[in-house]
Symmetry: D2
Subunit: 358 residues, 4 copies
Amino acid sequence: MNSIGSAYRISIFGSSHGPFIGASAEGCPAGERISETAIQIELDRRAPGKSAVATSRKERDKVEIISGLLNGKATGAPIVGLIANRDCDSSAYDALRRVPRPGHADYPAIVKYDGHNDHRGGGQFSGRMTAGLVFAGAVARQVLERRKVRVLAETVQIGNIKLDKDIPFSAAEKLVRASPVGCADRKTADLMKDEIVNAHEEKDSVGGVVRCTIIGVPVGVGEPFFGSIESLMSAVMFSIPGVKGVEFGSGFGSAAMRGSESNDPFVVKRGRVATKTNNCGGILGGIATGMPIQFRVAFKPTSSIATPQMSVDIEEKKPVELVVKGRHDPCIVPRAVPVVENSAAAVMLDEMIQGGFL
Amino acid sequence: MNSIGSAYRISIFGSSHGPFIGASAEGCPAGERISETAIQIELDRRAPGKSAVATSRKERDKVEIISGLLNGKATGAPIVGLIANRDCDSSAYDALRRVPRPGHADYPAIVKYDGHNDHRGGGQFSGRMTAGLVFAGAVARQVLERRKVRVLAETVQIGNIKLDKDIPFSAAEKLVRASPVGCADRKTADLMKDEIVNAHEEKDSVGGVVRCTIIGVPVGVGEPFFGSIESLMSAVMFSIPGVKGVEFGSGFGSAAMRGSESNDPFVVKRGRVATKTNNCGGILGGIATGMPIQFRVAFKPTSSIATPQMSVDIEEKKPVELVVKGRHDPCIVPRAVPVVENSAAAVMLDEMIQGGFL
Amino acid sequence: MNSIGSAYRISIFGSSHGPFIGASAEGCPAGERISETAIQIELDRRAPGKSAVATSRKERDKVEIISGLLNGKATGAPIVGLIANRDCDSSAYDALRRVPRPGHADYPAIVKYDGHNDHRGGGQFSGRMTAGLVFAGAVARQVLERRKVRVLAETVQIGNIKLDKDIPFSAAEKLVRASPVGCADRKTADLMKDEIVNAHEEKDSVGGVVRCTIIGVPVGVGEPFFGSIESLMSAVMFSIPGVKGVEFGSGFGSAAMRGSESNDPFVVKRGRVATKTNNCGGILGGIATGMPIQFRVAFKPTSSIATPQMSVDIEEKKPVELVVKGRHDPCIVPRAVPVVENSAAAVMLDEMIQGGFL
Amino acid sequence: MNSIGSAYRISIFGSSHGPFIGASAEGCPAGERISETAIQIELDRRAPGKSAVATSRKERDKVEIISGLLNGKATGAPIVGLIANRDCDSSAYDALRRVPRPGHADYPAIVKYDGHNDHRGGGQFSGRMTAGLVFAGAVARQVLERRKVRVLAETVQIGNIKLDKDIPFSAAEKLVRASPVGCADRKTADLMKDEIVNAHEEKDSVGGVVRCTIIGVPVGVGEPFFGSIESLMSAVMFSIPGVKGVEFGSGFGSAAMRGSESNDPFVVKRGRVATKTNNCGGILGGIATGMPIQFRVAFKPTSSIATPQMSVDIEEKKPVELVVKGRHDPCIVPRAVPVVENSAAAVMLDEMIQGGFL
């Protein structure tokens, strides 16, 4: 399913090795000033081929907006962007028709689509499809920022290296963008980079965790039950390839807590109702409390590794040793940071329009 | 938002202190034999007032099916069930209009609905609404079981007590149902029960983790991206009050793994393609691999505790010490087990019908 | 499919011969004053057994609201109403399992649901289900009326009798409600009544046309393409049993027009942009022009007639002469007037909330 | 709203004067052979600039498929096509910012989008957007035809010229495609052409009616109430610019009928249950009866005419005489024939997949 959202609807389309990928974002209020440059900056953050910790596939990921903007402002029509695929090397994928790569969608996709799926570069399962999420989110964040809602994603774990300090939002924003691994703390970032380089040198890959914080969300955004911020946010987060866990606030840590510890006491801060702690991650009953919304997203290690792996020839039902070729990120997490950040913006805008907050 | 699903659509309705709650389940194939008794058994598992570890609110939770079944079979029309609310004691809720309970939806709900929300018993945010999920799921599981798809949820953590052994599916199924805390291992269950009783005696509450396993799902069930099993499943799980985290397979543990460790090698088992390990939780690219689908759901401690807590009078913007009255579970997890289990069945049926597997 | 709408979502549930039918309306803004009496008045207009021109089935159609209202105001939760079925006489329906009634859904339903459908009283296809539409619409119209948006449906044709005069909106509103056939002009109404009585005496039935007018809709309500007022309105109108045609403004008459005649010239009236004529029915490009929205809905004659008809025994594939028993309206149109009117209100509220007009 | 459909989902995107328009069709079963040539043929039928009765705007409307097909077969991913806009002459549209064209969406769009809408060529309201409908439908029809479901649209009225004979489906199919006005009867087609040429010479335009017939639809396709064939079909038909009425079977004619005349008696034909007449247009209770599905779609005359018209300067609120420039069809009906036909195929495929008929 390539579409999601109610009041702000995202569709992503295309595939890894076709001529274009793209996305449509419907529901941006007419008259909103939307900078194409700002969209391109977000896409550039996600684009491959920029550092030692990323795949060597070269894609400029230059977006062409084909509708929805006129004179720099939203027209009210869906905002649609196209991104050309240039550096497609499909040769490495021919062998995968019969021998699925461990950790990839190859096997269930072959069965589901009876062998007709486009297997080149992962086809419609490619991480490259997340450029469409970034596009739609990069539009949304501009609308949000004008209303003082800001979104920040940051790498808080790579392999066994964890960020163990809190850096204030505005400072972190700049540091994360400057960091090749998306971590605001220089020293931790260096260790994370080493972790990735080590994995790469060992022909292996490594996982990690992205934390996302959204500030400025008005109290009351979100809907009960199936429209909860958690429901909508997790549905989009789990659509990002490689995501295996999502938790809000204290998340899995809550399980070991007592209520007296987990409950966030209400207090008055500068004349406003707030909570003393934020174990709930800024959400109660699915609805924003006015505190920062905070969640963490777990990424598994990149499935494509250069080490030989066990697989099977699915037609002959025989074991096969597989060496995955092609160009791949040893760790997806640094490039996932702008994906989490921008798609979170898209979800938040959807909830805000639905709730009449715009 | 009270409705979710595409091919199998659930709507839940009513509120904690109105005359009825209920649910509608649309999309059950005509002619499926659906036992009302089997539905009632699932509702009974969730019903309050049955043990020392649960609230003393007494509700028989007897369901009346008002459409969709005829002569014990689905007619093709939506299957709709009503459950009467009997033991409503609204007196305890009058104070909450101005002084929100920590950890509850009171505060954002008051702001969102401008004070017009039905605050009695949590209104539309009440955990009691999950009876509707159980109803819709209890229909779905009968359809699934006829196709050899079985769902099992079990308590694997209460506070600091964790289940540390694996019990085979069929054995666990019976043991979980016999256990007051929903844990298949008797010894662990006893420790969990103690944990809950201790929390209760200290006028406190405690959280936990429910693990859900679905076996028999055919390879290929699920859709790419926004229709992934993870996306649809997490959206429903996060709608359950108190859920703060959802992870599939190795989940957050994947973050510290190497790809060579996390990737599940393909093997041939009894003539079928399978994976040696199941770190992916039975899902690759959002689609079922044929291995057991497995995920874990983190619950925070029950928000309502008898210990005095800090809150504020939101009109006068003054601190207030609040003692929450009413009858509450010291730990929601045991009663959440059938909620997770049955709502997982509903999601799985939705995916299976969508994918043409029925 | 029993649910429709985006920002104002309607679900109808139940069936003709179960214990209850009902409906849920989600999206009514919290704090809106909603009169239960006003809802009941609309239901009473649709209720059977009230006049010589209607079925003798007796149903009080008294609604019980089980959630969504508190102290006469919307809480923000779905507003759900239940209506008991009392006068169910299922005996007449036993024969229909094998011999489908001409003009009814019996035959395709039997095939679709493989004989498992609830055939009693038409089951889920029953015109009685439209009470749910009236309920949801009766809530919506109160929200609309507070914003000066008013909806009026009226019978403009029964058989060959057509209303040939225009009666101003406010006057028509009262006259329509006072008329047993729903026609504002007394003389025409008498002729229409005769037409119905004649058909009834001849053991036959007769069709007609309902016209609906909505005034006060702000310019700009509606969305392009699939969200056009026409698309959303027609989807709901065609869900009403017996509807075979929907046209907006000049409708089918437009086909014979020239553009110079059909185009509504813009003029300035009392300082506002308006159109001189209203051939477009108040809608251009799917969006409200600010002029009255006007459409016509064609109803076929009631399918159930007491005259013997040709049918077949679908198992033996043999011709059978069928005499339909049961109690039926000789003309559905008078009771359809409040159905069209109220469901139009529901659609309009949906469009208005979606467009940010509330 | 640019997306519609459940199991077969269409999205259209782009605008009249941007670089591309396009469409996405999601839900085509993997492995279906889809001919790009066959898609192009349908697009060519709709393309402008081909005859005396159409606009002189020249667009090759050559589609480029960017995903969803591999080796001529559907991959299971959304099938996405792009069509370049080449012959954009935006100069004629500059004046419309303040003086809306009668019969066009200009005025409500300017108000709705606060003047930010893309007014060039009608922007997102342009009839050119229907190329996306044709694209998605041309994919769907290939899937349907393989299952013996065939769709035919034909012009049955232009102005006052009406087709008064019935031509068998297969013969009509070829004749309609060969006719510049889309009418199967040569003599009537000539009169229709004259009607259009006359209107054009008088700097005017003319409306008409398209009839659509779908044969081979299995009994049982369609869903009750909001999922009825009529509801889904009309929602798409009314999204086509210029459509003002939709009727099924006897449609508005039913209003003047008696039930004994309108009811289609069941008979056995060649061992199958059928109906003697088809006043219901092949649909009862929203569900296919197995008889041909038939409906009629009324188009108003093209709004753009070269005759001076009355409008207003909406800023100065003053009357203005407007002469619409640009290149326009004197009658939209001939080019609407493939739009109705192909979009009907898309709706039917959606219903068939939903109902499990594929």
